[in-house]
């Protein structure tokens, strides 16, 4: 947790230096950058790779890059990618098996992932990583692939200065202010004077890295400015999750006709689960070669929107779109709580923006909620 007393100020030069210091320490630095009409996460070499002066316009099934009237580094909301790509890769070869005669030999994979430094991690994303920690590291079965990546990361968080059109972290209690789970937290101050960044260390290691940067102690006025920025963001969320006991609401409405309505619109394409930073499901695929001597097992992201996902002897358990959309939404917002003790949704809005037909999880909840409220009135 950042201590205000340790807060420092750095400039653009300081941010450039931060990238250099982390690179010199052997990290592969991943940060926001413009890729094919959106702000994604990729390897970055310096501040020139940031989406300088860009922002985004987001709505259901809609995302467009827009120009800002300044040179902000972090003046946008989350994009199509999440850190899940790095901590829980979309495809991972697990092992191979080689047969010679009657012998079979298992060939383990050398899973030696890079040490990642993530720059620009938002509050919702820190919460998403904390949720995936529970999924992959909590309980008796630990995922070694996730753990080896996760344990090595250096996290530079950013307090959001703008909320996206589909953001609703404020109503999920997961943002926009970063609270925990970072090494350093930045707040960008782009207006009123010099372009500068308030830096708050969250770990001792973060403080050590900060000490290697050209910084000065943060004046109290800048600390206040930073607080005001993130408070303003909290007031400008594009979406809102209805303030009610959502897990219970969904449990009461498993047979509501709204599921048929959303099934008319849903394409069962699976995009929502792919972009969601907490969805963790995978499938394993086996391949064999033509000579029949080598078999390969690969793990890849899967989605509860596919028919194979619930396939058991005799067919798919969730063959209707209604059943599959309901599985997704009730898992995210209701059964996840029973399973892992938190919601499976951090209000990042990706599933709304990147749904090709703009289906909105907050709207679907609102309809169920208002339907119950109307019932109470009559």
């Amino acid at each position: 947790m950042g201590k205000t007393s340790d807060a420092a100020l750095i400039t653009r030069v300081g941010v450039q230096r931060l990238i250099e210091v982390l690179t010199a320490r052997g990290y592969q630095v991943i940060g926001p950058t413009v890729r094919n009409g959106a702000i994604g996460y990729d390897a970055i070499a310096g501040i020139g790779d940031f989406p300088v002066g860009w922002t985004d316009e987001q709505d259901g099934g809609h995302y467009r890059l827009r120009r800002r009237d300044d040179a902000a580094f972090f003046g946008y909301a989350v994009g199509p990618h999440s850190w899940k790509r790095y901590l829980h890769p979309p495809r991972l070869r697990l092992w191979r098996a080689q047969r010679s005669g009657d012998e079979m030999r298992i060939i383990d994979e050398d899973d030696e992932p890079p040490r990642y430094a993530f720059i620009g991690v938002r509050a919702c994303e820190l919460n998403a990583i904390a949720i995936q920690d529970k999924v992959f590291l909590g309980g008796p079965y630990v995922d070694p692939h996730y753990r080896s990546r996760r344990e090595a990361i250096f996290t530079v968080a950013v307090n959001c200065a703008v909320a996206g059109g589909t953001c609703f972290c404020a109503s999920m209690g997961t943002g926009p202010k970063v609270e925990a789970g970072f090494d350093l937290a930045l707040t960008e101050i782009v207006h009123d004077g010099e372009h500068r960044f308030l830096v708050e260390p969250g770990t001792d290691f973060g403080a050590q890295v900060l000490a290697e940067l050209p910084y000065r102690p943060a004046p109290p006025a800048d600390i206040d400015t930073a607080r005001a920025i993130v408070e303003r963001t909290a007031q400008s969320m594009g979406r809102e999750m209805p303030a009610t006991d959502v897990p219970a609401l969904l449990r009461r409405n498993l047979e509501h006709s709204r599921w048929d309505d959303v099934a008319e619109r849903c394409l069962t394409c699976g995009n929502c689960t792919m972009v969601c930073p907490t969805c963790f499901c995978t499938s394993v695929e086996d391949e064999t070669d033509l000579s029949g001597t080598m078999a390969t097992r690969t793990r890849r992201w899967d989605s509860c929107f596919t028919m194979d996902f619930s396939y058991i002897h005799g067919g798919s358990v969730r063959s209707s779109t209604r059943a599959r959309y309901r599985q997704w939404m009730t898992h995210k917002l209701s059964t996840w709580v029973e399973q892992f003790g938190t919601s499976g949704c951090v209000g990042c809005g990706r599933c709304i923006s990147w749904c090709p037909v703009g289906i909105d999880i907050t709207e679907e909840v609102r309809v169920l909620h208002e339907d119950e409220c109307d019932g109470d009135d009559s």
């Binding site: 890729r35 094919n36 009409g37 959106a38 994604g40 099934g61 809609h62 995302y63 467009r64 890059l65 199509p80 990618h81 790509r85 979309p90 495809r91 008319e264 619109r265 849903c266 394409l267 069962t268 394409c269 699976g270 995009n271 792919m274 972009v275 695929e285 086996d286 391949e287 064999t288 070669d289 033509l290 000579s291 029949g292 890849r300 992201w301 989605s303 929107f305 596919t306 028919m307 194979d308 779109t321 923006s353 990147w354 090709p356 037909v357 703009g358």
Partner: protein
């Protein structure tokens, strides 16, 4: 598994088609020798001269049924085949030539051929599965050679082929692409199209053309409504669905909704 005593016999059959899918097999340059090592290529007119004799362990069938002669021939092929796998849009859905199913074939013939007397054709182009039982259908126009190898290796080891029938979108997302429908407003058939191409077109900023046919549970009606909001007219939608997979049930039904 014990060493196989004799190599399984492979046959590759051609019906009404462009040969592109068969060529995918020849296109497996690096693996072709291994294929020939694992299977006896007993009948493959595209690659070698051979004759139809006896039975085959695995038959790959390309092409659709457009003549009475072929309708009889596929029965013979089925009888001679232990496993019959159809490959490509023609064999699995009728192909581009199934556009005739929406028109008057007699009118085409009178325009194209000087002498009608030599033309014997059916009024429709239909998939193989409309005529005989099929063990597996590999979709695509043309099929993906990696997927063809997967079908063959799965056959050899007696397992189910790993050919996911979900949307192209999932492949697109696994690759890390930015969705061009959402971020560029480019109409894309990916959400209703069967995976297999590796999201080739969206990776090059082109909307998916639907070359791999309908995915497992295609909601074409909902996608069409969205495509209309992106500016497509009913005429555009008619053409979008009436291509290589025009005769596949989901695309056929959807195109008819936009047919004046």
């Amino acid at each position: 598994m014990a060493r196989r005593r004799r190599k399984p016999r492979l046959a590759v059959w051609k019906f009404a088609s462009c040969d592109g899918c068969q060529l995918s097999l020849l296109d497996c340059e690096d693996e072709l020798l291994a294929v020939a090592d694992a299977l006896e290529i007993a009948y493959f007119p595209e690659a070698s001269r051979g004759e139809i004799r006896g039975t085959y362990d695995l038959s790959l069938v390309e092409g659709s049924i457009t003549t009475a002669h072929d309708a009889a021939r596929i029965q013979d092929v089925r009888r001679r085949s232990c496993r019959l796998v159809t490959i490509g849009a023609c064999a699995t859905a009728g192909g581009i030539q199934a556009l005739r199913n929406f028109a008057d074939v007699e009118a085409f013939i009178s325009v194209v051929y000087a002498n009608r007397a030599y033309i014997q054709t059916l009024a429709t182009s239909t998939p193989i599965a409309d005529h005989v039982g099929v063990d597996f259908e590999l979709q695509g126009c043309p099929i993906n050679k990696r997927q063809l190898l997967e079908v063959i290796t799965a056959f050899l080891s007696g397992r189910r082929p790993t050919i996911p029938s979900h949307s192209v979108c999932i492949e697109c997302k696994l690759k890390g692409n930015v969705c061009i429908m959402v971020a560029h407003g480019t109409p894309c058939l990916g959400p209703v199209t069967h995976a297999g191409c590796g999201a080739l077109c969206p990776s090059y900023n082109r909307g998916c053309y639907g070359c791999y046919g309908p995915m497992e549970t295609p909601n074409t009606r909902a996608l069409s409504e969205w495509l209309q909001s992106l500016g497509m007219t009913p005429g555009d939608l008619l053409r979008v669905y009436r291509k290589f997979y025009a005769n596949a049930a989901a695309f056929r039904t959807e195109s008819k909704r936009h047919d004046p």
